[in-house]
Symmetry: C2
Subunit: 143 residues, 2 copies
DNA sequence: TATTGTTATACTCTATAACTATA
DNA sequence: TATAGTTATAGAGTATAACAATA
């Protein structure tokens, strides 16, 4: 059984979070012509360092053939480099290129700029409230 | 110029909001076999009442042929009803069916249930912090 | 002649199944 | 024989262009 006020909070929070995330995603969409899957794969490579194609596929919850395709595009664009593993010739190690690092950094900077400028319009107290709430949001997401 | 602490808040908030929204979207995905586009069109019909196919297409930022296809599926599933406008025979008025209303309500209830149960695991003080922050998130999104 | 919606066709992204190369 | 990745093929979703019906 859920108390009324929790139901109201749940709806309100869900709608607000989804709306803000949609807005932030729009900010990202104008990014260098890369698709969401491509950017996600690149972000994972930056976070984890070099990964095999299979590990990357399972991390991104995408099938191996789809990852092959995604990596093909990223490779054509010069964003990643593929080489076969010295330890096991069947595996393909994928690494973010210099160019890939640059693009990802620029992308993140641009998105943060949008949100930062929005945050400037708030009072210091409101920003403090947001800061306090970030770890709570993370726990809700199970992170 | 952005102060260091605002940049940190910006990154942290962006990551947390995106993560939570992704998690909530996953919860929705198991919904009755309907696609995101179909659910979005239905939600818009619920919010605005009957709309013409064209108005619905432009509201959803989708081309008229795509909306025709989406409505075809929803109509096959009995979620919407289409009838030609009495005022202008070229227009098609689309309305959510009884069944459509039911499914949308159940869908929203289920998603709220997931988040509500997560919120139960927090302290009352943490929930109060979240409640206070909802309108701030809305202002960030420009809502 | 202009407008609303549909049909025809093509492109992108994803998946499963079959195949190749290495272990 | 098993595994990692790629190629072949198909399905879902979207778009632009051509068409039909109505104003």
């Amino acid at each position: 059984m859920t108390a009324p006020s929790e139901t109201v909070l749940s709806s309100a929070l869900r709608i607000s979070v989804m709306r803000l995330s949609r807005r932030m995603r729009q900010e990202r969409d104008s990014s260098a012509g890369l698709t969401a899957s491509q950017l996600a794969a690149m972000a994972t490579l930056r976070r984890h360092g070099p990964l095999t194609a299979g590990d990357l596929a399972s991390h991104e919850k995408v099938s191996p053939p789809s990852m092959t395709r995604i990596l093909g595009h990223l490779s054509d664009l010069g964003m990643v480099e593929r080489r076969s593993s010295p330890a096991d010739g069947r595996q393909v190690l994928v690494e973010l290129s210099e160019e890939g690092h640059r693009l990802l950094a620029a992308d993140q900077r641009r998105r943060d700029e949008w949100l930062s400028s929005r945050l400037q319009e708030l009072t210091e107290q409101e920003r403090a409230q947001l800061r306090a709430v970030v770890p709570i949001l993370d726990r809700l997401a199970g992170a």
